[in-house]
Amino acid sequence: MRWRHLDKSVFLWLLLVAALLVLVINPLARLVWSSFQDGATGAVTLDNYLAAYGRWRYLEALVNSLVLGLAVAAVCVVFGVPMAWAVSRTDMPGKGLVWAAILGTFIMPSYLGAVAWILLAGPNAGWLNRVYMGLTGAAAGPFNIYTMAGLVLVIACYSFPYMFVFTRSALDLISSEMEDAATTLGAGVLRTTLRVTLPLTLPAMMAAFIVAFLEAIALFGVPALIALPGRIQLMTTTLWQFFEFPPRVQVAAAYAMPLLSITALLFWLQQRLIARKGYVALTGKGGERRVVRLGAWRWVMLGYCLFITSLSFFLPMVVVLQAAFAKAWGRGFSLDNLTLANLRFVIVDQPITRAATVHTFVYGGVSAALALGLALAIAYIVHRRLVPFGRALSYVAMAPFVIPGIVLAIGFYAAYTSPPLALYGTAWILILAFTTRFLPIAYANSNAAIRAINPELEDAVRILGGGRLLALRRVVGPLLKRGLAGAFLLVFIPATRELSSAIFLYTTGTQVLSVLLFDKSDEGNFEYLSAIGLILVLGTVTLVLAGLRLVGRDFMLTRTTTT
C-alpha cells in the first residue's frame, strides 16, 4: 500500500489503541506479574496460587460469588427490562417520577442502601417486620436481610439501573415498523413485545447482564455489611483475608485472576448468541416510534415501577433522611429528635466535606469524559475492523471491571508511583484509576450504540468521496449524540461513588466523598454517615439535572425541543 492511498486516520486509531493499552494493560500486567511473584524475594513462583486455592473455604467463597452474580443479574432483568419498556414504548403515566427515582437509585452508594436495608428488614427489629407484626399480630416478621436472598435483593436494587438504561437506549432506537409487521400478521401487543421488540434489544440486555454480574461479584461494601453477619463466604470478603496483617497482596492478585477467564467466557458466550443474528436497528431509512397504548394496564405498570423504586430508592431514602436529621437515630421518629446539627457539622465544621464534594464531582466528570471518548473510539475501531485483532481490544476494554477495585488499586499503585508516570499524590492517579475502572461500562454502552448504526450510512459518505473522519464527524457523531448524555452519566455516577480503588490512592488534598462515607460506616456514626450520603445524593442529582438542562435534554433524556 502506498502512502498516498493510506487513510491517514489510521494513525489516530493507533494512538487510541496505545492509550487503551497504557490505561488498562499497564496496571493489569503489573497485577498479573505480581501474582507470580514471591512476596519477600520477588522470585517467580506458583505458591500464591496454591495459597489462594489451597483451601476448600476459599473455593466455596468463589462458588457463592458466582451464584450471587448470576442471581443478581437475573433479578436485574426482572426489575429493569419491564421498566425500560414501559418508559420507552408505552403511555404509562408518571414517567418523569420513575426516571428520577431510578436516577436516585443509581446515585445512592450501595453500601448506604445496605445500611438502610438492615434497618428495614433486619430479622429482629426491621421496620418492615415490625409493620408486618403490627398488622398480623405475628410473633416474628417474614423478612431477613441476612440471607442470600436478602443480599441478592440489595445488590440487584443498585445494579438494575444498568439494565434499565442499556435496554432503554436500545428500545429507543427500534422503529415501530418491525412491530407493525408483527401486528399485521396478527400478533397482539404482548406477543409482539415478547417476540419482536425485546429480542431486538438482546445485545444491550446481555451487556447489562454482564455488567451487573461483574459488579455483583466484585463488590465489597454490601457483602461486608450483609454477607458477613449472614455468615455467607464470598470472594471479596475472602479476599480481605489476604490484606490482613501480614498483607499478602500477591496472593490476593492470584485469587482474582480466574475472574479474568470468567469474563472472557461471558463475552465469548455473548458473541456466540448474537453473532448469527442481525441487530442493526438504526438504518438510514427513517422509521418512527409510536407508543403502545396500555389502557388500564398502564396503572399496573406504574405500580410495578413504583414498587421496584420503593425497594431501591424511596424506602432507603426515608431511613437516610431520618438519620441525617436525627439527634439520635436510635430514638426513631419524633419531633424533638429533629436537628440540623449533623448537616451543619459535616458541611460547616468539617471543611474536608466541602473539598471532598468538589473533588468527587470534578474527578468523576473528567474520568467520565475520558472513558467515554476512549470507549466510543475503541468500539468504532472494533466494529469497523479498522485494525487487526479488534476483538482482542474489546476484551481489554472490558477486563478492568472484573478485578475487584481493592485488588486493581494495587496495580494502579504500581503503575503510577514510578516514572514515567509518577502521579501519586496528584488528582490524576484517581482520575486515571476511575477512567480505567469504569471504561468497561462506557465500552459496553458504546459497543451497543455503535452496533446499532448501520455501516451503510458511513459508506454513503465514503462513496461520495468523504474520508473516514468526515463520516465520523457528520454522520456517526450526530447519531450517537442522542445516547451520549446517558452514557456519560453511566460512568460519571459510579465514579462519584467509587470507593475500593480510591481508598488506597487518595492523599491529603485529594479526598473524595465515598472515602469519607466509608470511614463513617465503620465508626458506628450513622447520623453523620447519612448526612454525608444525603449530600452526595442531592449534589449528584442537582448536577445531573443541571447538566441535562444544559445539553438540552429533559428528565427523560429526550430532546426538550420536539422533533
Binding site: 433486619g122 458477613l228 490482613e244 436510635g330 488506597f504 470511614d519 463513617k520 465503620d522
Partner: protein, 346 residues
C-alpha cells in the same frame, strides 16, 4: 464551642512562644518547634480514634504550633499499614507519623527498619500502667487507649438484667441478640478474642456460637446493631458507644466484673519521615495535657495522668482492666482468626 474556648489560652501561649519564648511545656520545646516550623507540614497516618477526633487533634496541634500544617489520613489499621507498605516499597516518603491500633504492625515495622527512635520528654505525663507498653528502644510509644466493654440498648434491656461479666453473654436468654465484631477486620476485636480465650479457653466461643451472635466487621458495628435494636447486648467499644449515647441514643456501658479489655495503641515516627522534627513535636503533643483534654471531650480515653474523663465514663486508672501482652497479641491474633473462622463459619 467549649473546645475552642479551652484552646484560647494555648493559642495565646503559642503566640507568646513565637515572640518571647516563655516557659516551655517540656524541655527543648522551643528549639524543636523552630526546627519543625522549617518543615512546614507533616502527614499522619492514623487508625486511632474516628475521623472527627483525628481532625480535632490536628486542629489543636496547628493552633498550639502555628506555621506547621497537620495532615491526617484516617483509615482502619489494615488499610493504614497497607498504604505505608506501598509507600515504603515504592520508596516514597509521605507519612512522618504512624498510629495503628494493631500492635503486631509495630514489631514488623521495627524489624523492617521503617521506624526511628525518639523518647518523648512528655513521657513522664503518661499513665504509669501504660509505660510497660512502650518499646525499649523508643521506636514506638503508647499514645491512645480504649476499652472493650459490655454494652446494651437501654430501651430493650433494663440495667438490672444487663450482663455484668463476659460469661453472661453465654446466657441462652440472649440467643440471636448478641452483637460482636470480627477479629479479621478489627484489632480491638482480635485483642478481645485473645483475652477471652486466655480467661475461659476457646470453649467460650463455642458456647457463644450457640447464641448465634451477629458478627459485624469493626467493633463499632456493634453500636449500629444496638441502635437499630437488631441486637440487645454486645461486646463493644467504650468511646464510640459513649459518644453515641451522648447524642441521646439509648445505649449504656457496663464495666465487666472480670475486667474491661484494655487496648493500648502506640505511635511511631518513620525513619524516612519528610518532617522528622514536626513528627517529634507531634508525638509530644499526643502525650500532652491539652491533647488529652480534647480527646476526653470526644469520648476517647485519656492516656495523661491528670486528665479525667467526662461523667458516664470511668478513668482507666480506676477500672479493673485486663489485657494480653504484646507477645500474646502478636502470636494470638493469627491463631484466633483461624479458630474464629472455624467456629463461626465466616
Amino acid at each position: 464551642m467549649e473546645t475552642s474556648r479551652a484552646l484560647i489560652p494555648w493559642t495565646v501561649l503559642a503566640l507568646l512562644l513565637a515572640c518571647a519564648a516563655p516557659a516551655a511545656a517540656f524541655e527543648g520545646e522551643q528549639a524543636l518547634y523552630e526546627a519543625a516550623r522549617k518543615e512546614k507540614e507533616l502527614t499522619w497516618y492514623t487508625a486511632h480514634y474516628n475521623s472527627e477526633s483525628a481532625a480535632a487533634v490536628c486542629n489543636g496541634f496547628e493552633k498550639k504550633y502555628p506555621g506547621i500544617k497537620c495532615n491526617y489520613i484516617r483509615t482502619t489499621a489494615q488499610v493504614a499499614y497497607q498504604r505505608l507498605a506501598q509507600d515504603q516499597k515504592a520508596g516514597l516518603a509521605v507519612a512522618s507519623v504512624f498510629s495503628s491500633t494493631d500492635v503486631s504492625h509495630y514489631g514488623r515495622m521495627k524489624q523492617d527498619g521503617w521506624l526511628q527512635p525518639y523518647r518523648p520528654k512528655n513521657l513522664s505525663e503518661l499513665i504509669d500502667a501504660f509505660k510497660s507498653f512502650n518499646d525499649h528502644q523508643d521506636m514506638y510509644v503508647a499514645t491512645a487507649a480504649g476499652l472493650v466493654l459490655l454494652t446494651y440498648n437501654t430501651s430493650l434491656v433494663e440495667a438490672k438484667d444487663a450482663p455484668k461479666k463476659w460469661t453472661d453473654l453465654l446466657d441462652p436468654k440472649w440467643k440471636g441478640k448478641v452483637s460482636i465484631g470480627h477479629p479479621g477486620f478489627s484489632g480491638y476485636v482480635g485483642t478481645w478474642v485473645v483475652q477471652m480465650r486466655k480467661l475461659y479457653g476457646w470453649d467460650y466461643f463455642k458456647k457463644l456460637e450457640l447464641n448465634k451472635p451477629r458478627i459485624g466487621r469493626s467493633i463499632n458495628d456493634t453500636v449500629t446493631m444496638l441502635n437499630a435494636k437488631e441486637s440487645w447486648v454486645a461486646a463493644g467499644p467504650s468511646a464510640t458507644t459513649l459518644e453515641s449515647k451522648d447524642k441521646g441514643n439509648p445505649l449504656a456501658v457496663v464495666y465487666p466484673e472480670d475486667g474491661a479489655v484494655l487496648m493500648v495503641s502506640p505511635t511511631g515516627i518513620l525513619k524516612n519521615a519528610p518532617a522528622p522534627n514536626a513528627a517529634r513535636l507531634f508525638e509530644e503533643y499526643l502525650l500532652s495535657r491539652e491533647c488529652n483534654e480534647i480527646m476526653v471531650k470526644m469520648r476517647q480515653d485519656s492516656v495523661h495522668k491528670a486528665v479525667k474523663p467526662l461523667p458516664g465514663a470511668r478513668s482507666l486508672a480506676e477500672v479493673k482492666t485486663i489485657r494480653p501482652s504484646y507477645d500474646e497479641v502478636e502470636r494470638g491474633i493469627p491463631e484466633v482468626k483461624e479458630l474464629f473462622r472455624d467456629t463461626f463459619g465466616i
